[in-house]
């Protein structure tokens, strides 16, 4: 495909600048830009066709099956988009007088109320813009809590080795030392290792439950108890909340702080990598430290409050507000009953797909899974040379998105499937048939898999070359 700069023709343009109706003011010469600004010059037709061509080489949930584990690629309801485009939301300046944005503040308030019910938390902030940003915020809350109690020796965060890479990275950004603990055979927390790790220096534990192997940790109550008894706090990574939404609540499990990915569990679109929303909920004892401003309901209506002990801001204004609008619209539509139905079917779909694939490949865990499961291709690779990567790339040829590859790190040839509740039985049947055929082809025609994909717009890219000789922008050398 041509780059937009290669389509540029001098003098082509759209009609977007109004005529000036004021006199020209004099400009301070020393402040003026001197270099030429090289932006593409295109008419609207050319611009439209360029992006339409790009869109044909992109793949969204609307294009087909998207079983990307831990990413919860559920269908994004169209009505959410309509709600976010309402002028009464989209055209609001963030610093308008509070009396003129009562409806917007109501959105934040209602979303907080519902999500506190779903998570069994007491208060929530929408300021964090993404899951990783939510982790950062949640850990800062833990830091603020211990600092306020002058319990400053608590500088260690315990993270199981099955965790997302953002967990340890977030802990490090908050000045914590990371203590990695091993998982047990089911990918759950090794209770003895946890007991050995906690102490007077424990600030908290970060946990994803169900974990990244798709297993709900049966020892969850004991785990949170061990951490609390040591004086630490428990952080719930909400990446996998879709498994239990409305059916079980992190707050009831003993967690003190949680981040949600509204772009996963609550159906807002991923946008090719954002914007999302990493809402953070807390139990009462952490609420005073929440980022400011925070919406409160008073007799006179909604108002923004900056609590004296607030840890400050993690972002400008109130977070990705229009993402919260979409999520609220979804939550109103589903309601409590719809949320339960959604998570139950997410678990059903995952187990159904697991049953269909299990005859052809080892599943990393025994028995029922929650909303996702991991195939372990270790034995297939040993026998045939075909890797998880090969199978994932061959799936692209079949018109599907690949599962999450090589994660969690504790399974070496991992393919992590999360079908979500918005796929039909028919889709799952067809997908299973396709994947099973590929797993069988590993034995009969491994070359085909090594060479996949062959029907996609490009073949496998040379990642090494990209990193060794970085070309990170267009050079304009041809012009």
């Amino acid at each position: 495909m041509k780059l937009i700069f290669e389509r540029s023709m001098e003098g082509h343009q759209c009609s977007l600048v109004p005529r000036s109706d004021v006199p020209a003011a004099s400009l301070p010469e020393k402040q003026m830009r001197r270099s030429t600004l090289r932006l593409p010059e295109l008419s609207e037709t050319e611009l439209s066709r360029h992006y339409t061509e790009l869109s044909k080489q992109a793949y969204g949930v609307n294009d087909g099956f998207y079983p990307l584990g831990s990413c919860t690629m559920k269908y994004n309801p169209a009505v959410n988009e309509e709600a976010a485009r309402l002028k009464g939301f989209a055209a609001l300046h963030p610093l308008q007088p509070e009396s003129t944005v009562q409806g917007a503040m109501e959105v934040l308030y209602r979303a907080e109320q519902i999500l506190c019910q779903v998570t069994a938390m007491d208060e929530m902030t929408f300021q964090p813009a993404a899951g990783a940003h939510g982790e950062f915020t949640g850990l800062l809350l833990i830091k603020a809590y211990h600092e306020a109690r002058k319990d400053s020796a608590r500088r260690k965060i315990i993270v199981p080795d099955s965790a997302h890479g953002t967990n340890p990275a977030s802990a490090a950004m908050c000045g914590f030392t990371v203590v990695n603990i091993p998982s047990n055979a089911q990918g759950g927390v090794d209770i003895d290792a946890l007991r050995a790790a906690v102490g007077e220096d424990t600030a908290g534990l970060m946990l994803t439950n169900p974990n990244t192997l798709g297993i709900f940790d049966p020892n969850i109550l004991e785990i949170t108890k061990i951490v609390h008894e040591a004086g630490g706090l428990c952080y719930y990574d909400g990446a996998n909340l879709n498994a239990i939404m409305g059916n079980a609540r992190p707050g009831d499990m003993g967690f003190d702080v949680i981040h949600l990915n509204l772009h996963k569990t609550f159906s807002t679109p991923h946008g090719g990598g954002g914007p999302g929303s990493g809402a953070v909920g807390v139990k009462k004892q952490l609420a005073p430290y929440l980022p400011a401003p925070h919406v409160m309901k008073t007799e006179k209506g909604f108002t923004f409050e900056r609590a004296a002990q607030s840890l400050g801001q993690v972002k400008a204004f109130y977070g990705n507000f229009l993402v919260v609008v979409r999520a609220l619209c979804y939550m109103l539509m589903l309601g409590g009953d719809g949320m339960q139905e959604a998570s139950e079917n997410a678990v059903l779909n995952a187990n159904y797909l697991r049953m269909l694939l299990a005859p052809n490949c080892k599943v990393a865990t025994d028995g029922l899974c929650m909303h996702e499961f991991v195939l372990d291709l270790g034995e297939i690779k040993k026998e045939t040379g075909v890797s998880a990567m090969d199978v994932a790339k061959a799936m692209l040829d079949e018109g599907m998105h690949a599962p999450t590859m090589y994660f969690p790190l504790i399974v070496h040839e991992a393919l992590m499937f999360e079908p979500t509740e918005t796929e039909s039985k028919q889709t799952l049947d067809e997908a299973a048939q396709t994947v099973n055929a590929l797993l069988q082809a590993a034995f009969t025609d491994p070359e085909r898999l090594h060479n996949a994909p062959s029907r996609t717009p490009i073949g496998r890219p040379d990642d090494v070359q990209a990193a060794r000789k970085p070309v990170l922008r267009y050079s304009f050398e041809n012009q």
Binding site: Q13, A58, T100, M173, G272, E344, V347
Partner: protein, 439 residues
């Protein structure tokens, strides 16, 4: 209830049977009984149909006031959004895609980011751009982290940065146990003399962050600030307004080490504060220290030009606790929005728009001065400026009554903003309303 589950009871029965369980509750066998929530214990009302949900959303939207003219900036700007921008970015292939990990089926998204990176480099005059961060405030916070090394850990922030930016950088620095020092403001500009004094006694100065134009709309002596910063062995971080880059000297021309800013003016609605776009560009020397996603060009197995997420050895999924930042997916669609906007406007459009903002703000400032609302500062300014008044509230209420969102009340004055959308007739009206309110 509303539902997006595409199966009927018979299909669900069949699937449960295949799985080998009797009921949905059986699927949750691993969850301790005491934790399982019966419907009546979940205090969330039952769901509704789409039209009912939409009506509820509309009712909330209608409780907000949409002003016919917005003369308030301070971090969010009222620019025209070309129709093509919304059309392109709402294409479902872009909208509903995940982060482009599978390059073979994601060239459209990857190429759009590569084009975005190029445009941001052009706009700021810097060598390298990342694929985006959350917003302008977090971009400044990430830039602060880039400046820090083992020997240098103090971050200097101009008090002429937006309050939200200052607060956000302070939070990030508190998290990472870094010291922040605030540089005072004199006559609406970062106080060079004060900074000189502060840097002279500090061998741990890591970086100096300031804005151009600054929070008060004034144009800083960037060359002077950067020179002082470099003399102290620290890195200079400029937070710039992207539209202003059509007119003003760029961070690249001025020799800044890092350029950051709020990308909202590039085609994003004000949206009550988000989603916006943080852009981050750096000099060639610093590109490996940039946080977040970066797209690079390479070739596929057949030698065909293509694009991938690259330099991932910097990132959290590889380095875990040793990563410089935890950022992963953030604002990709907003970066695409900015790219479509910049491509639609072209260089001429951006430059003319910057010029319109400049001229209109200077027109309004002059007209307000005629009725006694004098500018607080003497410095040159771009499209925002502060007028002194002790009756800000009165003026703003009068404007609000006429459907106009006036400037932002600040200490002893009002911070005004004019974009290309401020018609002269509206500005004349603003002046008349203010005159009347002050009488």
């Amino acid at each position: 209830m509303g539902s997006f589950v595409p199966s009927n009871p018979k299909e669900r029965e069949e699937m449960l049977k295949t799985v080998g369980v009797e009921s949905f509750r059986d699927l949750y066998r691993a969850v301790p009984e005491a934790l399982l929530l019966p419907r009546e214990k979940l205090n969330v009302p039952d769901g509704v149909s789409e039209p009912e949900a939409m009506r509820a959303m509309e009712t909330m939207a209608e409780k907000n006031r949409v002003f016919r003219a917005v003369l308030r900036g301070a971090g969010a700007y009222w620019h025209y959004i070309p129709a093509i921008v919304g059309r392109v970015t709402s294409k479902e292939q872009f909208l509903t895609a995940y982060t482009p990990y599978q390059a073979e089926i994601s060239q459209g998204v990857l190429q759009s980011i590569f084009e975005y990176q190029t445009m941001m480099c052009e706009l700021t005059g810097m060598a390298v751009s990342n694929a985006s961060v959350y917003d302008g405030a977090t971009a400044a916070a990430e830039a602060a982290a880039m400046c820090v090394d083992r020997k240098r850990s103090t971050v200097y922030l101009s008090k002429a940065l937006a309050p939200d930016v200052i607060r956000t950088v302070q939070t990030y620095c508190w998290g990472a146990n870094r010291q922040v020092r605030l540089i005072p403001v004199k006559d609406g500009l970062t106080d060079l003399e004060a900074l000189k004094g502060m840097l002279a006694e500090d061998s741990a100065a890591a970086g100096v962050i300031f804005a151009q134009p600054n929070y008060f709309g004034n144009l800083e002596d960037c060359a002077g600030l950067i020179e002082l910063t470099h003399q102290a062995g620290a890195k200079a971080v400029m937070s710039v307004n992207p539209i202003a880059m059509g007119l003003l000297q760029t961070p690249g021309e001025l020799g800044a080490d890092i350029a950051v800013g709020e990308g909202q003016p590039l085609g994003m609605p004000m949206g009550f504060g988000g989603p916006y776009l943080g852009f981050m560009c750096a000099s060639q020397e610093l590109f490996r220290h940039l946080p977040g996603r970066i797209v690079g060009e390479t070739t596929d197995a057949q030698g065909k030009r293509c694009y991938v997420l690259t330099l991932q050895a910097r990132e959290q999924h590889i380095r875990r606790e040793k990563a410089a930042s935890n950022i992963c997916s953030n604002q990709a669609l907003c970066a695409m929005t900015a790219a479509v906007y910049l491509a639609a406007m072209g260089a001429e459009g951006i430059t003319k728009t910057a010029r319109l903002c400049y001229d209109k703000a200077h027109y309004l400032a002059a007209e307000l001065e005629k009725i006694g609302l004098k500018r607080r500062d003497e410095a040159d300014f771009f499209h925002e400026f502060v007028t002194e008044t002790d009756c800000a509230e009165k003026l703003l209420v009068a404007l609000e009554a006429k459907g106009i969102l006036g400037g932002l009340p600040v200490e002893n004055g009002v911070l005004w903003c004019c974009t290309e959308q401020c018609d002269r007739s509206v500005m004349d009206e603003v002046v008349a309303i203010c005159r009347e309110a002050m009488a």
